[in-house]
């Protein structure tokens, strides 16, 4: 069986975690040369509550669509971090928003803490693009999709009026992640 690369985006409903998962899967499977499956779980509420999106990327067929041993996880809230970090594999990466996640979990994985929402607010004036910054960071940190593929995927998903904003957010993500490596 081909290797699976597993990414989990987690936060609260309304933070764009599912959209980030969709864009990552499109970067891999539509704009890249890999296979990808994206799945999600969320509660009945449309805003708030812990929400997660998972993306499995592989060169071959993907049977089980959910995460089994996570290579990289993003946590944008304390609740999501606490609830969902247990599946990170040994040697995996946990990227957290440093303003939101104060209690860091213990485990045999690398923790990277960065003010993602704060950067969106201060450098772009819009916290709504924090998910796109995080997407850029994950693309850079994992190398599982190319910058070009993720940019094409982002631009195909956002309304024309927000192309520049999202392009900038993605670039900031690439740059900031380099400083963490």
């Amino acid at each position: 069986m081909s290797e699976r690369y597993e990414i989990r985006f987690s936060g609260s409903g309304g933070q764009g975690m599912i959209l980030a998962g969709i864009i990552m899967a499109e970067a891999a499977a539509i704009y890249g040369d890999k296979n990808a499956v994206q799945s999600q779980s969320y509660g009945p509420e449309s805003r708030g509550g812990a929400s997660k999106a998972e993306v499995i990327i592989s060169h071959g067929p993907i049977d089980y669509p959910k995460a089994t041993a996570i290579d990289c996880m993003l946590a944008m809230t304390q609740e999501a971090c606490t609830k969902y970090h247990a599946d990170i594999k040994s040697g995996g990466i946990l990227l957290v928003d440093s303003e939101e996640v104060k209690t860091l979990p213990k485990g045999d994985f690398k923790i990277l803490s960065f003010p993602i929402i704060g950067t969106a607010r201060e450098e772009l004036g819009k916290t709504i693009v924090a998910n796109i910054i995080s997407l850029g960071m994950i693309a850079e940190l994992t190398g599982v999709v190319t910058h070009e593929a993720v940019e094409k995927a982002v631009l195909s998903r956002v309304p024309p009026a927000f192309l520049d904003l999202n392009k900038k957010a993605l670039q900031i993500g690439f740059e900031k992640a380099k400083t963490l490596k």
């Binding site: 069986m1 539509i30 999600q40 669509p65 959910k66 089994t68």
Partner: protein
Amino acid sequence: MAEKKKKLLQGNEACVEGAIYAGCRFYSGYPITPSTEIAEGMSVRLPKLGGKFIQMEDEIGGIAAALGGSLAGLKSMTATSGPGFSLKQECIGYACLAEIPLVIVDVMRGGPSTGYPTGPSQSDIMQAKWGTHGDHPAIALTPSTVPEILSETIRAFNLAEQFRTPVMVLYDEILGHMREPVTIPNPGDFVVEDRAKPEVKPEEYHPYDDKFLIAPLAPFGSGYRFHVTGLNHKQDGFPTNDSKMIRENNERIMRKVHVNRESIWKNEEVMLDDAEVAIFTIGSTARSARFAVNELRKAGIKAGLLRPLTIWPFPERAVAELSSRVKAIIVPEMNLGQMTLEVERVAKGRCAVEGRFRVDGEPITPSQIFHEVRKYL
């Protein structure tokens, strides 16, 4: 040849693509999680194609209007989840007896009642067969991937039109909401069956003409006038108390599906040739099972998978054959044992049959299946 277009689609979006491809031009329903994206997609697509989308007052209205759409000659569909599927059962029986082609999609969530709207389940297997009263034929298809939701929705329309009967597409919330790459088919990639039209003049037409096993169905409004009722009826569609006609009609609606069951059955077999233990399951659970089978084979364990894409009529021949050559059939399902009963019935004690169930809104994982199979070897 036109270039193939690959898109990342959600299961429910693929269902819409399949329905449109199959020629569905009428959708009526009432939105319910986790099926709502089907209604949403049909409401966007149908008006552009000259079709009709109606959101009805409730689930019963949703299927009743679709029956009307179908009688008027349009391929019709409704979609729902468990609670709505319960409400639609009366009209499903009506469609069986009045022989009205229709596709009903049920994206299964936890139940009973309102249950767990955003969690997956496979607990409507028996409802698809026995949810409506009386003896009646049931055809239910169980895709396991997003591309298969597209192709099985097309097959559902084909079977509904061929057999003049309601056909159900059953898949769980995981498949409804997950996204996978799908190649959008070009015309000609899949066979599309259209409804047989009457070859007689309107005054000679009988909607239940006993010259046929399945009589052609004339579209309402095309000059062919006939009566449609949920009562047992004569060849012209009007009610009857004639016991011979009642018996013949009841038996015929069962027979039309039964004698054609070989062409309706569709199974995938994974490494079954030399298997000592087989797994029987559907939908997203079959994905966990395939993962487990690969891992078991790596560990030197002879495991295989029988995956039906048609759960009704139940794949009796395949299960009977399998039960005579394996030690055990493991049946993992996201309910408390529905398919297991059918596998036991068909296996007739020729091998062990073990159900493994889960109803907490979480999927059955590959490692759970791996450990169940290992117990037998």
